[in-house]
Symmetry: C2
DNA sequence: CGCGTCCTTGAGCTTGGTCAAGGTCTGTGG
DNA sequence: CCACAGACCTTGACCAAGCTCAAGGACGCG
């Protein structure tokens, strides 16, 4: 099966066969982790760089009042760079949403690749800039009202999954509970529930059985003001379909 | 005068004299830009990497309804990496808050440094991870109530300015208008005004004449749950003072 | 069968938004 | 030196989006 980390990075640089092989080799140490499990937690010693090859995970921070804020979702192919400098402690927790295959990366090997393979370096820098861009999207999303905020989340995830070939027809898997969506969007799960109800009326998307279907992507994107440019996915489908 | 870009990057890697010199040389092309001016705007062709050597700037995106959301503040020493891959268009605007000195960086030179100078590479990667971490802080901050949200913003900026030596006694410059603070925190300027009034009662900080003073940093940090670890600033003062 | 997880809904409340008006301060040109 | 414009700050009255608390329902799994 194809390595989704490599597949994702193709969007960030023009990789050659040798680059792909090097990246696949870099991620050969795979761990299987079950759903809803912390991989590491806030305050733990900083672990190695990780890459999620299959499954969904999330980063979260716990607020003073005990609320969990998910800062970003990690989808198949996404990396999680902990800070290698300053042998410190993690400032967030990493938790699986579904069962995951996670590759652990040896720092020295990574360092060598960064030094010797300009394309790989470019791709990895691109990926960390994309992560920042996605986070900017979340900050911006915080200003939208609940309906559009949730719709935007769905559009973003759809585009990111499309980039690694995980869209199935007009829909894709949606493993997030209403609590999860609340923790991502800074809404309460009660309000997520009510918002889903409103959105169900408008038929902008259909949720059922941990799967979401989008009958009219353009309509949904227009509704929430989703413009996929910030994902920097080398303007294929997603970019060309909208304006 | 010292190069604040270099000064900041010292937090991310153990730079040698030659690394410092290379970084200083990299940022030799300096442009002066006046306050409240767009350096580039959403949709413009992607410009070169920029480094703000003096002054404050911000990234912002404009929502459908015309509201401006500032996604992140750029303080002296901070870099702004546009995506060099995918000759696309900027997905946000970059605007000065105060007058700024901005260095423009030649891509080829940057590439050479990344390939040849492991410490510089590590420092730059650190800086982009820090940017992401700050953005995660903003996402998290979005869940706090207005008073703590603003207090947290002040703590964060204080810590970042301290990292480049820009704290003056118990305070520092505060060029943000109430509109700006609203656009950063996703509050209306009216509500920022009222929140300032509340906070004035509690004497957690004192704003006057574009300068903010924090009489008791530990009290302010405790109030808003600020823990500076996420800034990855090599745990000096800030980190050791709190817990 | 029973328990845990997740979803659903109602009633009442609170935080922060909207709209509108007026005040202050500063820089500029007459 | 004064008048004026523009940017910024302040406050009031009212409103609404989203939260809290509480209860009950559906569903799957051991």
């Amino acid at each position: 099966m194809t390595n989704l980390f490599v597949r994702k990075l193709e969007h960030g640089a023009d990789l050659k066969q040798a680059d792909r092989a090097a990246l696949a080799h870099l991620t050969r140490n795979v761990l299987d982790i079950s759903a809803r499990e912390d991989i590491f937690a806030e305050g733990d010693p900083v672990p190695r760089m990780l890459v999620v090859l299959e499954g969904w995970a999330c980063r979260y921070r716990t607020l003073d009042n005990g609320q969990r804020q998910i800062t970003d979702l990690i989808l198949p192919g996404d990396a999680c760079h902990p800070h290698t400098a300053n042998l410190g402690h993690a400032d967030y927790s990493l938790c699986t949403v579904t069962a995951c295959s996670v590759a652990e990366i040896a720092p020295a090997e990574l360092e060598t690749l960064l030094a010797r393979r300009p394309r790989v370096r470019r791709a990895l820098i691109w990926s960390s800039l994309q992560t920042a861009s996605i986070l900017r999207g979340s900050v911006t999303n915080g200003r939208r009202q609940a309906e559009r905020r949730i719709a935007h989340l769905i559009c973003e995830i759809r585009a990111r999954l499309e980039a690694v070939g995980l869209i199935e027809g007009d829909g894709f898997p949606w493993p997030l509970t209403q609590d999860d969506v609340g923790d991502v969007t800074a809404l309460t799960s009660v309000h997520v529930n009510r918002t889903y109800r409103e959105l169900r009326m408008s038929k902008l998307f259909v949720l059922s059985g941990r799967f979401v279907r989008i009958p009219d992507l353009e309509r949904l994107s227009a509704y929430c003001g989703f413009r996929p440019d910030y994902l920097h996915l080398a303007g294929q489908l997603a970019a060309s379909m909208l304006r």
